[in-house]
Point group: C2
Chain length 243, copies 2
């Protein structure tokens, strides 16, 4: 049976402006592969309502799961929750359970639970809250969209809250073979190998470093046996240059 | 006049699988902002022909420029050039100018210009070549799509070959103010500031580090005067905590 599929939606002007380097995508990609959910697409859009709505609808239609990051804080540029509600024509308002969580958190901290902070209790009707053990303000799951914070420590914690609730498939395994030959010399034999192992992904990633060049050949699949056989054949094809 | 807009299309299973962390997006975002082209969206798709074709069509329709990275090497998984040709219903074949460039390069290196390497001379009809000073194999521009390599050193060189041919607008400038207060305390005054400066982007990026917390407020715009005024007001709003 094919693995469930997923997309990630990163909401953030700060990444598109080149100010910040996204850290969440790499983390999510690794964790999803471990549990057998195939990450098929990532989109990064700006903090713009219509753009978020359009992306959520497109990705939610196409993939089994959508994971979003960013835009669920208390400031004026945090418009993700409202955009998700709009994408699914779902009412949204301050919800008692989220409100109580936040009230307790700010009481503990001795901080005022003011109007801006109350915005973080706005949750679309019918959504499930995602636990945030770091800073209390919850994420939520509406239909197949999991809405999480952009701050990396909070994003990670929320991913770990959500993943146990999902049904994965076969973990994606990989083997890497480093071949110190020009990619053009590797290409012919590699295409034959890829044709012989149609269930494996066979990728070639060239490198040039410290005067040495070649390619890392990455074999990906769910069967350890197939991967081991393909790896063995690849090493035999380039006995002097592969490792 | 509004700045030209752009999208980036990253083609690469290796990023979706979590194996590789993309480096090109951050570089391109920074360079585009410097010359006044607004990066509005990034998509990362796998090495899959129909996915690439669909993304190219969608992004090319919507933005003034599309910059792609990855998938133009000699191996079987390098399908970008053919996918771009398909997206625009344009014929593609080995082209004499690209062929001559590559032939000369491999002659100099004493390497065989074999069938796999010849694939890198496949260029859609009517495309302009993009110079590759690193490893010869050219990128190309077809309509408003600039097709470049995924290897970071080559991607950077190709971006520097393309940018001088484009007409930019007003560079996007930014000012960052660090405020050591909870985002919930900053949110109200910040929303008023954002409303007062409608031509500026005002983003709030919370941090928690070494026991300190607060937010970096990033003001973005094309007018140095407006930015300076907004920054001044922001510092006055939080005299004890902003820097």
């Amino acid at each position: 049976m094919a693995n469930p599929t997923a997309a990630m939606l990163v909401i953030g002007d700060e990444i598109l402006s080149g100010r910040t380097r996204d850290a969440n995508m790499h983390f999510l990609a690794g964790r999803l592969n471990e549990i057998g959910i195939d990450l098929k697409e990532v989109r990064i859009v700006s903090d713009d309502g219509p753009d978020i709505v359009a992306a959520v609808r497109a990705l939610s239609d196409r993939y089994d799961h959508v994971f979003s990051s960013g835009g669920i804080g208390p400031t004026h540029d945090d418009i993700t929750a409202d955009s998700i509600a709009e994408a699914f024509d779902t009412p949204i308002d301050i919800r008692d359970d989220a409100d109580a969580l936040l009230q307790a958190h700010y009481d503990r901290q001795g901080l005022e639970f003011n109007e801006a902070r109350k915005r973080m209790a706005r949750i679309p009707d019918g959504a499930l809250l995602i636990d945030n053990p770091v800073s209390a303000a919850p994420g939520f799951t509406l239909r197949n969209v999991h809405v999480m914070a952009g701050v990396p420590s909070v994003f990670k914690a929320m991913v770990e809250s959500v993943l146990p609730t999902l049904t994965g498939g076969s973990p994606l395994l990989s083997e890497t073979v480093r071949i110190e030959r020009g990619e053009g010399d590797i290409a012919g034999p590699l295409a034959s190998l890829a044709a012989e192992f149609p269930t494996l992904g066979v990728g070639s990633y060239p490198f040039q470093k410290d005067g040495r060049y070649g390619a890392n050949i990455v074999l990906r699949g769910t069967s350890p046996d197939e991967l081991a056989r393909a790896r063995g054949q690849l090493l035999e094809l380039f006995p002097k240059d592969a490792s």
